[in-house]
Amino acid sequence: MPEYSDKVMDHFSNPRNIGEIGEADGMGEVGNPVCGDMMKFTIKVKDNRIEDVKYLTFGCGAAIAVSSMVSEMAKGKTLEEALKITNKQVAEELDGLPGNKLHCSNLGADALHKAIEDYMEKQGVKGENAS
């Protein structure tokens, strides 16, 4: 088995916040089946805060755990705070990821940021921190 931490295995086994928000305020997608990982994040925003966040993920154990962790980290944060979440932080919160999984599966923060940017664009507000 890949050398997954207990936290990764916990999030993989019991992923939080799975799903797709019906009338989402923002949507972000990363990856594709060729590379083996795809994530689709949808968010609900209220008073500049991420009131709800859900995701759909096609991918390995790391990709699923990362999605789950990102959703937990983002929930309740202001958009500015959420934009500061980095893939590195996500990996750290998961007590690390196997070296070879750091690049291809650790895209959760990117998907979240895309969802936030999507929201901002829809609002006509181009976020300063957008990457």
Binding site: M1, F12, P33, M38, F58, C60
Partner: protein, 395 residues
């Protein structure tokens, strides 16, 4: 919890008789076969007995069998060894796009060294076409290397036809039979291959036990030079216990192949049918008929293989996959790509390989678990949700 291995091609428990035969060679008969005193006698005799048993499995002569430590070593010895002995005759090698890395990766190196390599394509089932082989052979061709059966999708090549083509052009033929030996009838005399690789751990023998068949008329150079063990073609103190194990495994495989194949084909087909009935969106990979009896390769649409593997592992069922995330090189299976499988299906591939410890009572549990795992992962799959929307829209 129940533990069911469906990954027997990666590793399977030894036949008890194999381990039993090996044990005395760790203790009483620990001697070196090259020794000039009594301690060398039992190991030397045992080694020659094992050689005869391996020869028997493929209808070779004992002196045509060289022991090695892995199928990878056999493949490297076969190809590099033949080329080293035949440098002057040409520089063109033909192989296929579905070979094991222990063939493909050396060919890449050989290309850098100035050899020209043709990798024949395969059809949707993984079959190499003898006509395409014939067309590919030039007067510079000095070696054809095509596997006997594919370890991943199970497809058995039309070896007799392929060898006939090469023979008619006077080109020596190597076949990597690591996945096939012990599971399908192989007769080197009838087939006419020059070189054949096989490995004991693929038919209930120990790890570290393998062989290369070298027909009497074929000349190769050693890869490991030194002492004159193995007729000077593979130096190094022989791993007697492992090779004794290989011998017993080969003997058992020869003697019981018909029964083994019958039983495991039945079980495999039963598993296949139950899975296809109970798990929607499954696709069979490889040839529907010409396939290894213990091999089943399915793609579970909309989900990724490592997640499948981990979830099945949580249910005590051990499987393997051709997805990128399960490969150590993080590349999805070149075999599934070669048969034209779309990337999404390749990522969701599931290799189930059966062994002597599997039985029909396990089939319902496996089916139930795969159905549950596929369902669970699909519910979080963006591809599946997209599919559902498309179905709705079309309705």
């Amino acid at each position: 919890m129940k533990k069911i291995s469906l990954d027997n091609q990666a590793a399977s428990p030894l036949e008890p008789a194999v381990l039993e035969a090996m044990l005395p060679f760790f203790t009483e008969h620990y001697g070196n076969p090259s020794s000039g005193h009594e301690l060398g006698n039992a190991p030397r005799k045992a080694l020659e007995g094992a050689r005869a048993s391996v020869a028997g499995l493929i209808n070779a002569e004992p002196r045509e069998i060289i022991f090695t430590a892995s199928a990878s070593e056999s493949n490297n010895l076969a190809i590099k060894g033949l080329l080293a002995a035949n440098r002057s005759k040409g520089n063109h090698i033909i192989s296929s796009s579905v070979e094991h890395f222990s063939v493909l990766n050396q060919l890449k190196t050989l290309e850098k060294e100035g050899f020209a390599v043709t990798l024949l394509p395969v059809d949707q089932y993984g079959l190499v076409n003898p006509v395409q082989l014939e067309q590919a052979i030039t007067d510079k061709t000095i070696l054809v290397s095509i596997q006997a059966a594919n370890p991943e999708i199970g497809t058995i090549q039309p070896l007799d036809d392929l060898v006939k083509v090469a023979e008619s052009k006077g080109v020596p033929f190597h076949t990597d039979a690591a996945a096939a030996a012990g599971w399908i009838e192989i007769d080197v005399k009838k087939t006419g291959v020059a070189l054949l690789s096989l490995a004991g751990d693929q038919f209930y023998g120990p790890k570290g036990s393998a062989a290369l068949y070298i027909s009497q008329k074929t000349r190769i150079r050693p890869l490991i030079e030194g002492g004159i063990q193995e007729r000077g073609l593979r130096a190094g103190t022989e791993n007697v216990p492992a090779l004794v194990g290989l011998g017993v495994a080969a003997k058992l495989a020869s003697e019981t192949m018909a029964q083994r194949v019958k039983a495991i084909t039945l079980l495999r087909d039963q598993l296949k049918e139950r899975l296809l009935e109970n798990v929607p969106h499954l696709h069979l990979n490889g040839h529907p008929k010409q396939r290894l009896p213990h091999n089943l390769n399915l793609s579970v649409q909309f989900v990724e293989g490592e997640a499948l593997l981990l979830r099945m592992n949580m249910a005590g069922i051990y499987v393997s996959s051709g997805s990128s995330c399960t490969s150590q090189a993080l590349k999805s299976s070149h075999v599934l790509a070669a048969i034209g499988l779309p990337p999404e299906l390749a990522q969701g591939s599931l290799l189930l390989s059966l062994g002597r410890q599997n039985n029909a009572e396990e089939v319902p549990y496996i089916t139930e678990q795969l159905a549950a795992v596929a369902d669970l992962l699909r519910r979080m799959s963006p591809l599946y949700h997209q599919y559902l929307k498309e179905v709705q829209n079309n309705a």
